[in-house]
């Protein structure tokens, strides 16, 4: 049985406390009136002036676009900043456990022989899903109640034909993009995922206690996993349209669901590898050998390449076709958020491909940790870039207390929930007919 070490527990609480301070700072510093927002922007330009950029301020001051509509727009963007940072963190950590849940289901359906000894680690990580997904749902409800404007399409004025802000394109999408139906869909996805998470956990615990050779729970697990995977493939795709793509509500990409899935999957597998290495370093999981680590690192390597493939496919088709309503998405990202946009590709592709290419390096725990930290950070930035340009625009600020605070808070919560769940059951499953194969697994 695993015992949650005091040190790690304190660490997770410390992360949460620091995180809350950062989040609170973000909300306190968000402007509550348009006047305050103007002040903030003016200060930014003064700061620019100190760098010897006086011409730019003059030019900006004379600029005619400094009208009331623009002020209101910037005001909403600044107001969105702490909410958007919070949403990135909520989604990212929910996505980690959801990716692991899909990986776990695939292991069952494919009757994989190598991964049985890692099942409890995966179950520990997926234990975060009910909490993470419910927090996310609460966030969506708050958005629906207009507490924030992360989802700009939720503004009723946009679909009111008598309003000056009326948006015909959005009006045409109204039957799909409206708050009640959006929340009902979210509830369906989340309910389906949580159902499988609960069910699979119950079945493996029952399999632990079952008599030798009793495979009823094992067979039920296979059915439940297959059903979940069918549901997951559809719900994951729709979830990515609803929760991420709708933030840029005029834009669409048919590859989006796969793209989000690839990021989710590689981050999930990286999390499995990192938790495994951590537990091994603490003297647990003695039955996990370096061939298991090798396989996890192979998945990290392979799915990093897969993610890059989708990232590039989506970009290249849009770049080549050059259709205005599609390219705006990338123009905004190239113009406004260039450095993180390209840094992310280096972190998610160049770094893992060079670090994890050599077969022997895939067996070195510290290599896996280094590669894993960079990959997870890279995918955090990826989620940040999926959400932020649509909600905050050019007012984004990655290295700010609210972004770092949100990330740290949910990292702390994630660690706390996952490692608490790991203490609940023995770290080695029993009763699986392929257990022996997994224990003897070697390359």
């Amino acid at each position: 049985m695993y015992k949650f070490s005091k040190k790690l527990k304190t660490f997770s609480f410390a992360l949460m406390v620091v995180g809350i301070i950062g989040i609170a700072w973000g909300f306190m510093n968000a402007p509550s009136t348009i006047e305050e927002s103007k002040d903030t922007i003016a200060k930014q330009f003064e700061a620019h002036g100190a760098h010897g950029d006086a011409d730019a301020i003059d030019a900006h001051a004379k600029d005619a676009h400094h009208d009331a509509a623009h002020d209101e727009h910037v005001f909403h963007q600044l107001q969105n900043r702490p909410w958007s940072a919070l949403y990135v963190a909520i989604f990212f950590f929910m996505m980690l456990s959801l990716g692991v849940l899909a990986f776990y289901a695939i292991q069952h359906v494919s009757q994989a022989g190598w991964s049985i000894v890692l099942f409890r680690v995966m179950e520990g990580i997926t234990a975060y899903l009910p909490i993470g997904a419910v927090i996310l749902f609460v966030f969506l409800v708050l958005s629906g109640m207009h507490m924030n404007h992360v989802f700009a399409w939720m503004n009723p004025e946009l679909v009111d034909p008598n309003s000056p802000k009326f948006d015909q394109l959005l009006f045409d999408k109204k039957s799909y993009l409206n708050v009640p139906w959006f929340l009902i869909r979210a509830a369906i996805y989340i309910a389906g995922w949580i159902w499988y998470q609960r069910r699979s956990r119950k079945l493996t615990l029952a399999l632990d206690k079952a008599e030798d050779g009793d495979l009823t729970h094992y067979k039920k697990m296979m059915g439940a996993s297959a059903a979940f995977l069918v549901f997951f493939l559809v719900s994951e795709s729709m979830m990515s349209w609803d929760w991420l793509m709708s933030i840029d509500h005029h834009w669409f990409s048919t590859l989006y669901g796969w793209y989000v899935f690839a990021g989710m999957f590689v981050s999930g597998i990286t999390t499995i590898a990192m938790v495994t290495v951590y537990l091994k370093s603490q003297g647990y999981l003695e039955f996990v050998n370096d061939s298991h680590l090798h396989d996890l690192a192979k998945f990290m390597f392979g799915f990093s390449v897969f993610w890059t493939y989708l990232w590039f496919s989506q970009f290249m088709l849009i770049w080549y076709a050059n259709i205005p309503e599609e390219v705006t998405y990338y123009v905004q990202r190239f113009d406004e958020i260039k450095v993180p946009f390209f840094a992310m590709v280096v972190m998610n592709f160049v770094f893992p491909i060079l670090l994890l290419m050599n077969s022997d390096y895939k067996r070195l725990p510290w290599f896996i940790i280094i590669a894993g930290v960079v990959v997870l950070l890279g995918h955090y930035i990826d989620v940040y870039i999926l959400i932020t340009p649509g909600s905050v625009g050019d007012q984004w600020k990655f290295l700010s207390p609210e972004v770092i605070g949100s990330a740290l808070f949910f990292l702390g919560l994630f660690i706390f929930v996952v490692f608490t769940a790991l203490t609940k059951a023995p770290l080695k499953v029993k009763g699986n007919p392929f257990l022996k194969e997994s224990e003897q697994f070697h390359y």
Partner: protein
């Protein structure tokens, strides 16, 4: 008998698992394995025999980098330098602005160079070429038999009985040139 020839025992096995165990036992007993002939690649045999790790992977990486470099030069020469073309209004006078369109070609060239040059390197290192006479001692090693060749240093009898115990189905003493 020429000075380069040596006496070897060829022990024949009919199963790869038995062969793997035999290789491990023979090495543990400090006999010198000259070569093992198998009808198909046996996973982990190189490690069991104590062969040095292959450098083929490193050459593959270098060939890939070469292919990537070649494709960059090639696309720049074809599409920018020698015959700039206006395709879909994309700027054809700048490599970097046209680069996304070249990525699939860069990728394919990387794979093409790595794969083909690696195969050629493998053939050269294994001294394989068309019409080469086969080196395997028994035609059955291309069908369903495994042969382990162990060098003899005046311990013929002892070695033969040892190999028999490891599960060999046939044992032959022969001169090798």
């Amino acid at each position: 008998m020429s000075s380069t020839s040596s006496t070897v025992i060829q022990a024949m096995y009919n199963d790869d698992d038995i062969l793997m165990d035999a290789v491990k036992e023979t090495r543990a007993a400090k006999y010198h394995i000259e070569e093992v002939y198998t009808p198909f690649p046996v996973h982990g045999l190189d490690k069991a025999m104590g062969l040095a790790p292959t450098k083929l992977a490193i050459t593959a990486f270098m060939y890939g980098v070469l292919g990537l470099g070649f494709s960059i030069w090639m696309m720049n020469y074809m599409m920018i330098d020698n015959w700039p073309q206006d395709i879909g209004g994309k700027p054809s006078t700048s490599f970097i602005y046209s680069m996304p369109a070249f990525v699939p070609i860069m990728f394919e060239m990387t794979v093409f160079f790595a794969a083909h040059l690696m195969v050629i390197t493998f053939y050269m290192r294994s001294r394989l070429w068309p019409f080469k006479e086969a080196e395997n001692p028994d035609p059955r090693t291309t069908d369903d038999m495994f042969v382990m060749e162990v060098s003899v240093n005046g311990n013929e009898k002892e070695l033969a009985s040892f190999l028999e115990k490891t599960g060999a189905v046939e044992i032959k003493v022969t001169e090798k040139h």
